[in-house]
Amino acid sequence: MNRTIGFLAPWLVTAAALAAAPVVFRSDFALTTLSLIGINVIFALSFNILLGQTGLLSFGHAVYYGLGGFVAIQALNAAEGANFDLPLPVFVLVGGLGGLVFGYLFGLVVSQRGGLVFSMITLGIGELVSSSSFILRSFFGGEGGIATDRTKAAAFFGHKFGPQIEIYYLTAACCFLVIMAVYALTRTPLGRIWNAAREDPERVEFLGYRPETLRLYACSFAALFAGVAGGLSAINFEIMNAQQLGAQESALVLLMAYVGGTGHFLGPILGAAVITYLEVRLSDVTDIWQLYFGVLFIGVVMLAPGGITGWIAMHVEAWRRGEIARLAPSYALVAPAIVVTAVGAVLLIELTHRLFARTMGESALLQLGPFTLDTASVAPWVIGGVLGFGGGLVVRWAWPRVQEAWSAAAPTTKRGAA
């Protein structure tokens, strides 16, 4: 009985949270962001089948997302043209099938090699498809893309999916099903052997598994779920264009999965939520938000390869052993210093950005929240420099203390190796 509750509880909580989210966050902005997060959660989870589960880093995962979306939108338009009454959720499945077919086809080539070469081949396939999209115009619609009208589809139990709230619930339902499916996949023998292939490919080969076949299956499953995300995206935006299968989108999904943490099932989910929210918010605040994403990514790779979930798991572990108190003093020292450094660095970066934008004929005034700063005056530069470099020095001084505290709290586990 207790085991059943323990097994069911997380799923019931997830379902309840998904159902309650639009009741808590009521605004239109929140609703569109939540829908976007749902789509990206599916996309990031599909990516992590490759990176986290099988140890394959793909630089072209958006290909399946985009192709799935294009297949779905073309099917939707074709069905409307032929007066073929199908409800909207069917086209999400069509997108998934599209992703699966292309995932298998390209997988035949991509799965030939593992390791770093796999990454380079996925990059090549990604470029192949995104360049082709400007040649095959009737399928990809050229620069403008392909548009559709989702409300023309047949009603699904009385719902026409016109308002965003209905799209949100469709996304949430798909998201919940995909989370369950991907989780179930990790529990199957296939999922386990993927893990084994990640840890020691040679040994798995000696056990009698063909690594090419394992990689092909991983590519196909990942492409299937990426296609579902693409289909949802096509329905959500009612337009697909070539950008959605390009390198930027592939980089974004990598960022989401990695920042969240590829070593934990919840990592991509958390990462998708955080990065999507940051993307929506930051692009309003500053026009160099992509630089911050790049710096964030480098920082995570260098300092916390386990991502957010890896970092949390490390502390939960310390807390379980009752050692968390030992960490507190050093954290109290280093955390404010990190915040001050970050504030100083952001100030300097924004000032530099303004300074160079001014030479290109833009305003010299920097608007940071309620403050207006003039790049021509010295004071903001001095403040930024003092905060950034002073904070950096304090961090340098305090960091060994954090490491000492960690080696006292967890003598065997290395910091960051989560």
Partner: protein
């Protein structure tokens, strides 16, 4: 027709040699350190922008000399304070680090020099006609690129094959532990190789910048082709990288020059479902040809033309 062949061949070899200048650094870094440097094309872009900035203040020639040195310095710093720290987490983390770096460099270049192309132009001393062939002029600057790239190639081969430094590098490629046992500072050799590889990329950027367009997207456009080259050649094989560079360079240049579509060969009536492909000229297909070549090579020879090991 012979005009087309002659010029395409010349331009193709030129483009191929430029590719090889970068692919050689990339291959050396890969086979020595196991690091696939995603940011290699970004160092090429930095070379072009540094060259532009220096040429604006001091003239073209100081730019061609100083820019690669600066880029090499940046590369060495990246290796020392970035890559070396990530090394312990494995090769995928190293690749991810350079991926993030490529992203950040592109954003920084956009921040400092703007999103539009900068005016990095051919110097006056090289702005003349080298020769006339079939009634068409061939610019001297292109010959300069070709000569520089060839000189670098000879120089590289000479260092690797004839000098003691080259001996240590070749030994560290295959037996890094043994080289360390013999008392050589392998991390420093790594840093030097990474720096020199980046400097080579920087040099190709500094000389290619005026001939091509110096803009923030130049790294993103070239990077994937570079990886295609080293995979087709076979990972870790310098000779393979050379052959593949020329192959990709020549095929792509020829494709750009051929303005034939299927409709011209088989008549304007397109069979059903192929209407898009029917009017596409070979020149329009040029951007996807390297990738199509990659797929073909992988299907028939998964280790690449001259590659031996599975990595």
């Amino acid at each position: 027709m012979s005009q087309l062949i002659a010029f395409s061949l010349l331009n193709g070899i030129l483009f191929g040699m430029l590719l090889f200048m970068m692919a050689s650094g990339l291959t050396l870094i890969f086979s020595m350190m196991g690091v696939l440097n995603f940011a290699h094309a970004s160092f090429y872009m930095l070379g072009a922008y540094f060259g532009y900035e220096i040429s604006r203040r001091m003239g073209f020639w100081p730019g061609v000399v100083i820019a690669p040195l600066l880029v090499g310095g940046v590369g060495a710093i990246v290796e020392r304070y970035g890559l070396r720290r990530v090394h312990g987490y494995g090769h995928v983390s190293e690749l991810l680090f350079t991926f993030g770096l490529a992203f950040a460099i592109e954003q920084l270049v956009e921040m400092f020099w703007g999103k539009t192309p900068v005016d990095y132009s051919v110097p006056r001393s090289l702005n003349f006609v080298a020769f006339r062939m079939f009634g068409t002029n061939y610019p001297a600057y292109r010959m300069f690129i070709l000569l520089t790239a060839t000189a670098m190639f000879v120089f590289l081969v000479a260092i690797l094959q004839r000098t003691r430094v080259g001996l240590i590098i070749r030994a560290a490629l295959t037996h890094p532990q043994m080289v360390a046992m013999l008392g050589h500072n392998v991390p420093r050799v790594f840093m030097a190789v990474f720096g020199v590889g980046c400097a080579l990329a920087g040099l190709s950027g500094a000389i290619a910048g005026p001939a091509l367009v110096t803009q923030p997207s130049m790294a993103e456009e070239l990077g994937p082709i570079l990886f295609v080259v080293i995979i087709i050649g076979g990972m870790g094989s310098l000779a393979g990288a050379f052959v593949a560079s020329l192959l990709v360079g020549i095929i792509q240049t020829f494709a750009v020059a051929i303005n034939v579509s299927l409709s011209e060969v088989f008549g304007p009536a397109a069979p059903p479902l192929l209407s898009d492909l029917w009017t596409v000229t070979v020149a329009q297909l040029a951007p996807i040809i390297p990738y199509a070549l990659l797929v073909v090579v992988l299907v028939f020879r998964p280790t690449g033309l001259m590659g031996t090991r599975e990595s």
